[in-house]
Point group: C2
Chain length 594, copies 2
Amino acid sequence: MELEIKLRMQNRVETILCPPGANLLELLHQYGYSVYSPCGGKGRCGKCLVRVSGSAVELTDPERQHLTQAQIEDGIRLACQLKVTGNLEIDLSPTDQLVILADDSGGDVQLNPHVRQEEIRLEQPRIDQQDDYWQRIQQQLGRKEIASQALCRLGELEQKLDLLVTFSDGKVLDIDDPQAVAAKSGYYGLAVDIGTTTIVLYLLNLTNGAQVGVHAFANPQSRYGGDVITRIDYTINRADGVQKLQDTLLESLNQGIQHLVRKHGIDTTKIYHAVFVGNTVMLHTLLGVNAASIANAPYVPIFTDGMEFSARELGLGIHPDGIVELLPCVSGYVGADIIADLLAADFESNQWRLLVDIGTNGEIILGNKEKMFACSAAAGPAFEGANIAFGMSGIPGAIASYQLESSGEIRYQAIANQEPQGICGSGLVDIIASLYSRGFLSSTGAFQTGLSITEYQGQPAYRVVPGKEIFLTQKDVREYQLAAGAIAAGIQVLMSEAAITETAIDRLYLAGGFGNYINPESAAVLGLLPQSLLTKVVKLGNGAGAGAKHYLLDRSARARVDKLKQRIKYVELSARADFQEHFMGAMLFPEIRA
Amino acid sequence: MELEIKLRMQNRVETILCPPGANLLELLHQYGYSVYSPCGGKGRCGKCLVRVSGSAVELTDPERQHLTQAQIEDGIRLACQLKVTGNLEIDLSPTDQLVILADDSGGDVQLNPHVRQEEIRLEQPRIDQQDDYWQRIQQQLGRKEIASQALCRLGELEQKLDLLVTFSDGKVLDIDDPQAVAAKSGYYGLAVDIGTTTIVLYLLNLTNGAQVGVHAFANPQSRYGGDVITRIDYTINRADGVQKLQDTLLESLNQGIQHLVRKHGIDTTKIYHAVFVGNTVMLHTLLGVNAASIANAPYVPIFTDGMEFSARELGLGIHPDGIVELLPCVSGYVGADIIADLLAADFESNQWRLLVDIGTNGEIILGNKEKMFACSAAAGPAFEGANIAFGMSGIPGAIASYQLESSGEIRYQAIANQEPQGICGSGLVDIIASLYSRGFLSSTGAFQTGLSITEYQGQPAYRVVPGKEIFLTQKDVREYQLAAGAIAAGIQVLMSEAAITETAIDRLYLAGGFGNYINPESAAVLGLLPQSLLTKVVKLGNGAGAGAKHYLLDRSARARVDKLKQRIKYVELSARADFQEHFMGAMLFPEIRA
């Protein structure tokens, strides 16, 4: 007997079939639906929310639901904890919206792409000048290799003398008739930022440098775990796990490319270059490389070098001889996304500069034009909403900013101005900073008298919005302290390594989604960021995406990237006694200045 | 209604189905049977012989059969002229044996392959030494690129420190566990000689340089024409012609590789390098490149440079990251097979040396260690049996050597000591030289009185073997004169170009199948080769195959090949007035010396 499940999404309804007893989350993943499940379906993170109509389901572990009474009454359940026992209707919309940071600070980049296109004219061959066609092309472009398919194209052009040649420094990738319609539409490149949570594709016209389109979507690997460690665990437990991660990722990338080219009326074979950035684990999974060695000490990746392949070799749906490049990583936990951040920032200064990119890990770079140090502080997923009672990622309904006035009045903003449903990272920092500023939290993070405290899941809890079932628990404050303490301590360690103090730093770059949305003043109040740098903050927006685009448009960025890769000294925090000392201190909130 | 045709081959019988009225040759090609048909099925060459049992066939053009009465009585027909009208039994054996020259003169080659395999041991990563695995490998092997699949393998090996690395100068192709059984079986390379008629695959063990096996088979492109021009014509007339030529060729290569690896118990993924030689048109078709521009003046190919691709890019069934190399060609009619001949020969001398490789074209190289000249004399297919009444290629039953004693006694040898059925190239030279030596041919090639002359197809004809229906016609002698005259004139032109005479030449290399079997004395009697060089002949055997193997085993051959490609000056005979003069003279047989 097959059961029927009707799936209601934002704009459509689909029906899938399953045997009785199927696990709903596994089923959804199996059918290709992206459901955010950062704990990998273990019932711990409470994120894979669906709304169930009908009672033909069975909870595998009612204790693990972490749901409010209101949610339960509303039919909300964790998909991972449901066994299907009869025909059902499921509303997926609680999970399928994600606010994604695809803007970036931009900045002027010179158009000088690695892949170029030139119209050339060959001399008419003569019986006394029998140089072959490929020789004649090289006489104009310099000595190069050529893709076999480009040779075929050259042959198909039947001795035409006017040619449109697409080439990189080392290789001719394609040859076309400049009179052909398709040839006149320009040629394109992709910059791709593979985040653990979100993937952003930028389609750029390499003829004029214009951004043709951008497409962002949730990383479908989330179905195998929300953070890199859970995904690596998945690969350790399943023989085909590494392959699954790669297949899932590549498939979504190719769909994303299709979406972009259809929308903008472009032929995929006119895309000749794709530049990828992402953290080290994401880039391992992109190539189908086992990243297990990154998960455990001594955290050694399989590769960190920049890589270059043909699209054919990787299976990416652009021109098969198109160049796929991965920017280099620094270490297992300082990835190519940070190298890309650095391209969007300016470290070619005599002054020291600090860059902080906070996600599950806080990657920190401290450097000037001579020396650079990098570390990764294991902040944990608190800033991304995990391990926080009402934590959620930056999706509509998440409280993203929050202020508790001295009058007791509360001002807050939920993303997309929707009804508040939980708290994302920047909201968490604001709430805790508000409470601390008002004296309702001690410097050790304990709730103080004067604050109206209730209880949630056995924890002392602060009702964040009056009349709403959204709480900040004492445990949430601890989670924040662990996360923020690690980052603040990381900054301290790099300053010792560079033998400088805060005063030597003239710029603080904040990168990544959280860095963009965070209120730096709140972060400084809590000591997450150095107080003295408040006036020196530059928000990079999606620095990784901007860096990838920069790299795509200007091949001189290669030399800068190579230099960065060589210059950056990675500092392993777990190996340093001083990190533990700084960490203990940094968990305390700093004294409040007058 | 479907008709049934039983096909009898050397060791097996197969049955195919067809509609009434199907052309037998097309049908055989359609089902993948390789039937030699150099004229492309036009009923001109008389080569696509089959033996028909039953009368359910219809001749489309009885005039075009060019068959002897004996053959007709024996049921022999031209497949291209048969329409199938009922169930049939067809014997394919007259066409499916080919004597192929896969021996070569060999010679000592140093084992120093381009693709190498090394067992390395990495240092144990430590928390204070976090270099990634790929960095550690490069620290031992030098800076290189790496194939993405090799990175995956490295990841799969789960932090093993003992690694077996397969790499070229620039790139790591594969990584394995040296303890794995498959890793212990060595690694392999292929040298491939793609002749217009015959393909030879050599499988070499790159661990020790040993030749593991050799597999020769007819070039299946023959179904689209026996010579390169007919095949190019086919591509001009059919939109998918170029693709067909490539597909047919690649499919047979991959089958050939499968045959070899199964026979020798080797895994195809242990083959990491394939070196291809062949004439310029064959190499174009290997890559799927239109060769039409070679067929017409000014005979300019699409490419002549050496090429390097991954097996994945070409679709060759070895390790997907294995290197596929094509040796460079000199011009449209002096191909990589001649460059390979030169690797097997020695032109690094102060003395002048001459190399002649006679097939449909006679490729001629004259040079010393400073200068080299090349030309291609359009000999036509006479030496391969086409356009000769009883001509045939070097298959069993072909008269390959022939002597007419002054006593009138005839000595001859047919290949494989079979009943003589026709005359191959070396036999043709011997017969004409014998007749000329005995005074039965004038220096202009006319039959002289004293020879018993009969008539065949309206031509004066000499019965080659008493009692057998095998004739040499007056027209055959003319065909020979045209072919030989072109080659002799080519040699003359190169000598003028080098400003030398025969006496300056200290070695004459004969390459290719015909060169190996020809009786140099007969060739000298007729002026095909200079008389004074008779004592200086060195037969290279299959020089092209030997050169390809040499290149595979010793990467220093690359520098030699590059130098040859640069040093050789191509002389286009059709553009030279002196060629015509020499040609007219060279068609006359030289005076017989005392």
